[in-house]
Amino acid sequence: MTADTPTPYIEIRDVTMAYGSNVIQRDLNFTIHQGDIFVIMGGSGCGKSTLLKHMLGLIPPSSGDILYEGTSFFQSGAAEQGAMRQDWGITYQSGGLFSAMTLAENITLPLELYTSYTPAEITDIVAYKLALVGLAGYQSYYPSEISGGMQKRAALARAIALDPKILFFDEPSAGLDPISSRLLDELIVQIKESMGATVVMVTHELPSIFAIATNSVYLDNITRTMIAYGNPADLRDHSPQPVVRQFLTRSAAAATLDQP
């Protein structure tokens, strides 16, 4: 990982997203480098979460391709896709924790599937992962028995169970109070730095964006394509696009209200 000559790690090539004939975004082209904290931003309904679903391989895009270290995800076979996915850790907007399993079972599942640890070792690793996110001792709780902020952190603990190379977050701080959301941001940065992971995050929380993002892309509602790419603080001060500057400075302008 050299900061001076970053290698293209994830590439979004000519991606067009559409539901039926309704095009949401077209001609998306950008690169995410190793070690980035990359933020996908834009107003509500611009297709941020859909783009993430494409990147996660849950839905193929209408056209275009997504490459991980030069390999196309959607052109790969099931086995290669599985191998790529083992390098990912994902936290979903609604947590995505298995509600019928305790927190320990949630974290145990990927470890059982993809590692050769013994059950006793897995118990120790689960305790360590929960401690990392500040949930030590919560092994036997069900997701419904803990608060929303704790669920987000538990989901993060599951996402980092396999020490992933890429961490995906779908609106990690949505619905959290400012302090919890700041703590979560700090946690993400700490975990990212200690594991050397790359972070891809969908969010529109400005404090988070400025606090942690190193690079970003802005998806516009009206022109239906990306209109800015770069460090969010630079974009705020120097973007030629008024919409992007308004978004990043929270200007009350009708232009940023979404108009599908």
Binding site: K53, L56, G57, L58, Q81, G82, R85, Q86, W88, I90, Y92, Q93, S94, G95, G96, L97, F98, S99, A100, L109, P110, L113, Y114, A254, L257, Q259, P260
Partner: protein
Amino acid sequence: MSSQSPDYQLHDGEQDAAVLALSGDWTQGQHPARFNSVEPELARRHLAQLTTDGAALGDWDSMLMGFLLQCHDYCRAQKIEFNTRNMPHGIEQLLAVATAVPARRADAPKTESWLAFLSPGTLVRDLWGDLQESLAFTGEVTVALTRLVRGKANTRFTDFRNFCYQAGPEAFAIISLTSVLVGMILAYLGAVQLRQFGAEIFVANLVVIGTLREMGVLMTAVVMAGRTGAAYAAQLGTMQTNEEIDAITTMGISPVEFLVLPRMLALIIIMPLLTIYANLLGIVGGGIVAGGMGISPIQYFQQGESALDFSHVAVGLIKAVVFATLIAVAGCRAGINSGRSSAAVGQAATNAVVTAIVYLIVADAGINILFQQLGI
């Protein structure tokens, strides 16, 4: 507090300008004029400018705002300059907020009438869609099953055990009740007819054969479709809503192997066992009615035993396995393909039960014809 009835007056000004003076209380219960009664008057005048005057306004609420918004939109559409004056505090601000974002052009209204469900085209299309989805789903399940047989599937035994418990022991009470009652109904129906020929004793044959071949397994299947099939659809639908199925997929696990197989196998193992239990209780239920008609339990069971044939038991058990598969496929398919809202989960549960029952009846008829042809 006296209230004044709301009113408006349209005064012509100079050079295609007009003033719409509003007066009285524009509030709930006062039934002020609606905009569509003002519109023709405005249209007749070919205005270039319209000013609404609120000097004589009394009390007001959202009724007035709705009216003013329509005035504003009408003026914008007709390219008339729209102004307000002497309005109570707040109205102009509210109007500015309400008109900040232009209204989205409405989509063409859906022309589908609410009687559309009667149209044969829709019916056939819906059924065909369901059938296609079920076939595709059955294909996925078959692939997953072969992986399970080769020991490659991500299916957890603990899940399987839990589902067995939910489908089996927890269903005992309701299965007991329905099977005893159905046995009694069978016996009663038969006894009334057979008595005319003095052949009451053959009630035992009727009950044994009827229960073993048909009623025991069918009633069990209907109960399980409502109980377990719907539960599967609701569980999987909620997991879809909660992004749990996405999480499973991105963990590299096939949702069919992880979620569908344990449910389906549990039902396939449990259904024949429940059917045997239901058959026994059904025959006992028939015995109770026979007893009431003067046939002693010993006579009843002796006569019943003479009618008992292994083929009858086997037919019931084969049906149990087929029905279990159908219920699990209907339930899990509805759940996995569910939308991501609370209404969609409800619809998935309904869909699971309805499709399961249709499949059950059709399969039952098919199996009966097949076995009749084979002479079993």
